[in-house]
């Protein structure tokens, strides 16, 4: 077992443990904080995969913006009854069974593929992934259209969110 694998396993334990706490903890504000831990674990995973830019974006966008948005929403909609009453539906075992079946099926499929057992090749020298990513995002030959569609989607979503959430519209 190499150092890479030990780091990966620790990171996986952090992610899965935090994710489980997100779905089973009773207090919603704690669930939001556990989500921050899970997202941080995913950022470490991106760093292990040598996608440094995505690791930074994960911390800035997910932890810095989305998680804070969740915490604000929890505080704005807080009610004592919700923290004390049942947090899960009465037939919660059905989703648990479904999730377990999906996990078992996926693991069965992944283990059955010998190609997925390979280790990664060494990163080719002289390849600047950050530069390549920047060029790919704005090059007409590559992904400029999905990039622009994503930015328009984001703009529309933000305008819509401001309109929906603002209270006084007469």
């Amino acid at each position: 077992m190499t150092a890479d694998q030990i780091i990966f396993l620790l990171c996986a334990a952090l992610i899965l443990g935090s994710a489980l706490m997100v779905v089973i903890t009773r207090k919603l504000i704690h669930a939001a904080l556990w989500l921050v831990a899970a997202l941080f674990g995913v950022a470490i995973l991106f760093a292990i995969l040598q996608a440094g830019f995505l690791a930074v974006v994960q911390v800035v966008v997910y932890i810095g913006a989305i998680a804070i948005l969740f915490i604000f929403a929890v505080m704005l909609t807080r009610r004592e009854m919700l923290d004390n009453g049942a947090q899960t539906r009465s037939n919660w075992w059905l989703p648990a069974l479904l999730g377990f079946l999906i996990l078992a099926g996926l693991v069965f499929l992944i283990i059955g593929q010998p190609a997925f057992g390979q280790s990664a090749a060494e990163m080719p020298t002289g390849v600047d992934t950050l530069r390549n990513l920047g060029i790919a995002l704005v090059s007409p030959d590559a992904y400029v259209l999905p990039f622009e569609v994503a930015s328009i989607l984001l703009l529309a979503a933000l305008v819509g969110a401001v309109y929906v959430a603002s209270g006084n519209k007469e």
């Binding site: 992610i15 996608a51 995505l54 919700l82 999730g99 280790s119 790919a136 999905p146 990039f147 959430a165």
Partner: protein
């Protein structure tokens, strides 16, 4: 890097299943959105892992991961705005009690 690709895929599958369980079992609408975030992150792990293990010179995996980031941010902004708006008019965030459009 000596980690097999299947480890990443199994981790992402487990994270997706946990998120799915959260979405289907929670009553609170905000908790449902938390589960959706976990599922989107599982997808991102898969995209970046396949990018790294197949051909790091082609950027398709990372570009799509960035688009998933943007979609996740849009989804959370609109979803939480809707929840806050519903909470203002109906004083509840329990998904079962939001039955305005139920016939």
């Amino acid at each position: 890097m000596s980690i097999p690709l299947s480890w990443f895929l199994i981790l992402a599958a487990a994270l997706f299943s946990i998120g799915l369980f959260g979405v289907l079992s929670r009553k609170n609408a905000i908790a449902i959105l938390l589960g959706v975030e976990l599922m989107l992150n599982a997808v991102n792990i898969n995209l970046v892992a396949f990018w790294r293990y197949q051909d790091p010179a082609k950027m398709a995996g990372q570009v799509f991961a960035i688009i998933v980031f943007a979609v996740a941010a849009a989804e959370v902004a609109v979803g939480l705005a809707l929840i806050i708006s519903v909470y203002r008019s109906r004083k509840t965030v329990v998904a079962d009690e939001i039955d305005l459009m139920k016939w």
